[in-house]
């Protein structure tokens, strides 16, 4: 059979692991092979050293430094695994597998792009923004202090919202989008309620939209059917479960069923 050959888990040297905001950090690691292969919207599996915690932590790729042979990830410190990652120091190694998933389709990019991000859903959109052609409007929201704004501003107009109102509009990114009636080819990543709102907005305005979803994963490369989401189809039930890790994480907004 003519299958591409892939390596599994690899140990990668950490270049930096700095805080961007409270409980949010940017991890940069070396992997020329992954940097070569990666596309915006894909993710990698990070594995814990704590051998009680065996499952991968899927983290999206934030920036692809192909020339430097590096990937940038931005992650929120939430549970045991991500808190472990927060302790890693430059020069140490982190165990990674990837890149994984389908990534955003850039074919959809039009003269007008509307990028919508919420919380740690924003970082996965940065590399995409860098590659979009045409005019790009970027609406992003944060719990409190925003981050990555300077880098996003190099790619288009950035509109910021915060939940606590400490910067920009109070509320989430969809409030900006709705208030201003923004349009364009939509690319979105963020919490599920926000993505559901994006889906409804895109349907109402008849805008093409791609959504990047999250689900709990067992493997991250398609073998366990653990990470599914409902996708509309012609079957009797009207849907089937598709894998977020392999068929996604990016799906066309029209096909996703949030429920």
């Amino acid at each position: 059979m003519c299958q591409e050959n892939r390596t599994g888990r690899v140990h990668c040297m950490i270049v930096s692991n700095e805080p961007l905001a409270e409980d949010v950090r940017e991890l940069v690691f070396e992997s020329p092979a992954m940097a070569d292969e990666a596309r915006p919207g894909q993710f990698v599996n990070l594995y814990c050293r704590h051998q009680g915690q065996l499952l991968p932590r899927p983290i999206s790729i934030c920036e692809i430094d192909r020339a430097g042979g590096r990937l940038h990830l931005v992650y929120a410190c939430r549970g045991k695994g991500t808190r472990e990652f927060a302790d890693y120091r430059p020069g140490e190694r982190v165990e990674v597998m990837g890149p994984l998933g389908n990534g955003f389709s850039l074919d959809a990019a039009g003269p007008e792009n509307l990028v919508i991000g919420g919380g740690v859903g924003t970082p996965p959109l940065l590399e995409l923004c860098k590659r979009l052609t045409g005019r790009t409007t970027i609406a992003v929201s944060f719990r409190s202090a925003p981050y990555l704004i300077d880098r996003l501003e190099r790619c288009g107009e950035v509109l910021v919202a915060t939940r606590d109102g400490s910067a920009g509009v109070r509320g989430n990114a969809m409030k900006i989008v709705e208030d201003r009636g923004l349009t364009g080819n939509i690319f979105a990543c963020g919490p599920t309620p926000m993505l559901a709102a994006v889906q409804a907005y895109a349907a109402r305005r008849d805008l093409p939209a791609q959504l990047s979803l999250e689900e709990r994963m067992g493997c991250g490369f398609g073998c366990c059917v653990g990470c599914v989401t409902k996708v509309r189809d012609a079957s009797e039930a009207g849907f089937s479960y598709r894998k977020v890790c392999k068929d996604g994480p990016v799906f066309a907004a029209g096909e996703v069923i949030f429920s």
Partner: protein
């Protein structure tokens, strides 16, 4: 060095099998491993019709393991025969099909459909709930286990492995029931029932509340049960439950298994089957074992 083993008349080039549901039909692994080097690929459970599976979340992390509630999502036996058999037959490996059902009739239907299919072995997953008996798993009651085995064996075109549930008081009794029903081999263990609560959300992590625990955490229970079953029946035994290394594989062989299956390890590391095979070979070299069959059941 001989690595070949014989399971109910089927020759495997080595004792490394895959555990059903953790290897799909192998497609996702082809980029990482040489499928030609696997003794037998046991594919994910197939039913007579497509099953949607459970709502997410289907996966919870446990200490040293994983709890799953996939719910046997599968495209049905017809899609399986059309898509997966030709793919796997492109490799020099044995194929075993894991069969799921909610009634004896459903199991029988799958076995009938597969009787003429180009596969080497059938594996009957009797951990499925019997909808006619209030959802109690077939595999927890000797009479039900025997009945479903007998019915499927009557129509099977291939040797029949019966896969035992560990959630029982006396697994040897269930193994003997499968033997009486005509099983050609037994495999064990399936997953242990377990649950995890997210204390911040005050809710079970899995949509189904409980799910199946697998991975290194269950290995001692699996080794104990393999030992008990191997002494209780006169059938080949396929051992599994938490195998992560070549020495783990050797441990199951020594407990009485004739072959082993790698499950959760595949999810955690796509090259696990190869790493475990290489580790087993290294262990045999180091300890001077020429034939893998010489390891089987060596503990008293």
């Amino acid at each position: 060095m001989n690595l070949g083993v014989n399971i109910a008349g089927v020759e495997l080039k080595n004792p490394i099998m895959t555990a059903s549901g953790t290897f799909g039909s192998g497609k996702d692994f082809a980029p990482y491993v040489d499928l030609n080097r696997i003794g037998c690929v046991v594919v994910k459970g197939v039913a007579s019709t497509p099953w949607p599976g459970n709502r997410p979340p289907r996966i919870a992390e446990a200490y040293g393991g994983i709890i799953n509630a996939v719910g046997l999502q599968n495209p049905g036996v017809d899609a399986f025969c059309q898509d997966d058999i030709p793919f796997l037959r492109g490799f020099d490996t044995r194929i075993a099909v894991n069969i799921a059902g909610r009634t004896i009739d459903e199991y029988v239907e799958v076995a009938e459909r597969l009787a003429t299919a180009d596969v080497d072995l059938l594996e009957l997953n009797i951990s499925c709930p019997n909808v006619k008996e209030g959802g109690v798993a077939f595999g927890v009651d000797p009479a039900m286990a025997e009945a479903v085995t007998r019915a499927v064996k009557a129509v099977a075109g291939q040797p029949l492995i019966v896969k035992l549930s560990p959630n029982v008081t006396d697994i040897a009794a269930i193994a003997r029931a499968a033997e009486r029903g005509g099983a050609d081999a037994v495999s064990l263990i399936n997953t242990l029932l377990g649950a995890r609560i997210d204390v911040r959300r005050r809710a079970f992590v899995l949509s189904t509340k409980q799910g199946g625990l697998s991975g290194p955490a269950v290995k001692p229970v699996a080794v104990r049960m393999v030992y008990e079953v191997a002494r209780a029946v006169d059938l080949p035994v396929i051992g599994m439950g938490g195998i992560m290394t070549g020495e783990d594989a050797a441990e199951f062989l020594m407990a009485g298994a004739n072959a082993v299956a790698v499950g959760t390890a595949n999810l955690l590391n796509p090259t696990a089957t190869m790493d475990i095979l290489d580790g087993l070979v290294a262990f045999m070299e180091e300890t001077g074992v020429d034939d893998v069959n010489d390891l089987v059941g060596v503990v008293e």
